[in-house]
Symmetry: C2
């Protein structure tokens, strides 16, 4: 149950009540692809850095360890010992980006597992069944994620099929949420808007899926290679056609600047691998731009990554120590930098929520971008 | 200052007071070679599993990040944020096992760094200077660690040189502990007994180094390829010639069974990479033998690694989850198994201390070995 608490321009301060607790929005979900955050970050660590929602990947968990095993173990929450909300993606994005030899048909997609080459079929029903086995809080509809750029004709056909798939997803979810053997019988379903950078296809699709009474709506197929300007334009033109009293999720986005811009346009949910991926390259987010901790100038720098930051890495360890760990390929280095980066994102979302509450979002965004501008260099 | 609190047979319950706190012995030191425990285990994690002493490697820290940098940052305790005792080895073992093109002379050893090939010289004075820069609680004397097996003649010459080196170490330590610029002016020095499996050389050497008033004594050059029987025989014959009122450290040992046998013979300090190294191979220690968590039988096993174990891995996660993490190459899997294994060792040492206090060591050892015998298979 989503409540729109406050608007500041188009920026929205909301709240989504779920069987696994309340999500304060705008929110950045922390990505744990295979039921674990990269960098040896545990679910206990996530609590310490204020993570609200963990995101896992249906495709990855289906191929390993298998959703039936997770179901047998009581679902994903119990499996990874995380009692707050979990969102699972539909597997669609991974099928279209990771798997080999895929064949798209009306009933779904045939493909080969990237782990062992095993032939797998996944359609809307299968995706929802897997997500029901995982028992996540929020399931995503199974969609086609078209390549960028895609021809207009291809995009139109693809979006039409995605709409038909969404109807099948909703029907399957309704059926499973009624079944007594289902672990989470209040599982929510978010539909996904597609259409690439074609405004009219986006709008038409947004209207069609808004007519279905779903728990939330996502914008998919963005941040896949188009310019930031194109992405912001699509948000500006599409969001007005999505229901105001449902949460809106911009999938796979993005940099702190992307998030600040998208919140201003009305986005409530985000997820992105940047905080973890950048950690692997020694990049730490701060309010004064990104630091490359591999840089020699941090060799004997006993300051924390960001003075004043309350994350476990900044509370207990110095830049010099973390740099040493990264150079020595000690896994602890990655863990500390990932903890800091996720904490940076989580903290920024908290600031964003506060700014909207105070009717101060535009000024907050301007100042935050100003401070961080080194990052854009 | 070491106090022998209680003897049960030859097993010793002791206490070593240090400027960084008290060490209750027998103790197992947790190895963090490059100022970090393998598996992204942080110094905060170590506190949670009851670690008393962390052990770091002088050679590794000298070549990276450099002991001068750690000195500038206030020493190893501050660098890795660990306020309990730290023991540093002398670098000797690594110079003789890791470094390339070494040349042993009376003044010390010339070798090439295994990181960048840089030519380095390390002698007794250099080793102690580096350890003084690191400001560890306990420094180890710089010794030659002869290969196994070694000819009697070679061993004799080597041990003689090690004795001369020990005298130089002690003099250098005395000088540095008086210097105002030294971070830890109460740094302790342990000497190292060598002699391979030649009982008479071991005994002769033990007598000579016992005559020097050192803070503790170690047995080196064991667990390097000789049989367990040979190792136990050397302990039986050598320990009586070491001072009773000083702590005795068996370097690089070992399996739980090795530790139980060595405690019975009078050893107070241990260190070993097994808990971390075995973790990397999916092996978890339990009181009922080692588990290989990669085994398919744990695929949907929702029990903790060892029921009743209070470590963070057993408290929060199942065998099935940890197995999944290991299979998926998620670093969190290694972290959890290493936390458990170190906790297993730390807990066993606590039991050992209790058994000695209760005059029950022989029975305790018998029962513990009986339970764990699967491990020996």
């Amino acid at each position: 149950m989503y409540t729109l608490l406050k608007k500041d321009g188009n920026a929205r301060r909301g709240r989504l009540e779920t069987p696994h607790g309340t999500i304060e929005t705008p929110v950045f979900m922390n990505v744990g692809t295979a039921a674990a955050i990269k960098g040896a970050v545990s679910s206990m660590d996530l609590k310490e850095i204020g993570t609200q929602v963990e995101l896992s990947n249906t495709y990855h968990l289906h191929v390993r360890p298998g959703d039936e095993i997770i179901r047998k173990l009581g679902g994903l929450h119990k499996f990874m010992n995380w009692d707050r909300p979990i969102l699972t993606d539909s597997g669609g994005f991974q099928v279209f980006s990771l798997a080999r030899l895929r064949k798209i048909k009306e009933e779904g997609v045939f493909f080969h597992s990237h782990i062992d080459g095993r032939k797998i079929f996944m359609g809307p029903e299968e995706s929802i069944q897997i997500q029901s086995n995982l028992a996540s809080t929020i399931a995503m509809a199974f969609d086609e994620c078209p390549p960028y750029p895609a021809e207009r004709e291809y995009m139109k056909d693809s979006v039409d099929r995605t709409t038909r798939w969404l109807e099948r997803c909703a029907a399957e979810m309704e059926r499973l949420n009624k079944a007594e053997t289902t672990i989470n019988r209040e599982q929510m379903l978010f539909g996904i808007n597609q259409g690439g950078v074609y405004e009219d296809i986006r709008i038409e699709h947004a209207k069609r899926i808004s007519a279905m009474d779903l728990d939330g709506y996502a914008l998919g197929g963005l941040a896949v290679g188009e310019s930031h300007e194109n992405m912001y334009r699509i948000l500006d033109t599409t969001i007005p056609y999505l229901p105001e009293h449902k949460p809106i999720y911009l999938m796979g986005v993005g940099t702190p600047a992307n998030i600040l811009e998208a919140v201003e346009r009305g986005i409530d949910f985000f997820d992105c691998v940047y905080p973890t991926r950048n950690g692997r390259h020694g990049h730490a987010y701060t309010n004064y731009g990104k630091l490359n901790l591999l840089n020699k100038r941090f060799e004997s720098d006993d300051a924390p990554i960001e003075p004043g930051c309350g994350c476990p890495a900044c509370r207990d360890y110095s830049r010099a120590y973390i740099r040493h760990l990264l150079k020595a390929k000690e896994m602890l280095g990655l863990r500390l930098i990932v903890l800091h980066n996720l904490s940076f994102y989580n903290t920024m979302m908290k600031e964003i929520r506060g700014a909207i509450e105070n009717n101060d979002y535009v000024m907050y965004k301007k100042q935050k971008l100003e401070k961080m501008k080194q990052e854009e260099k």
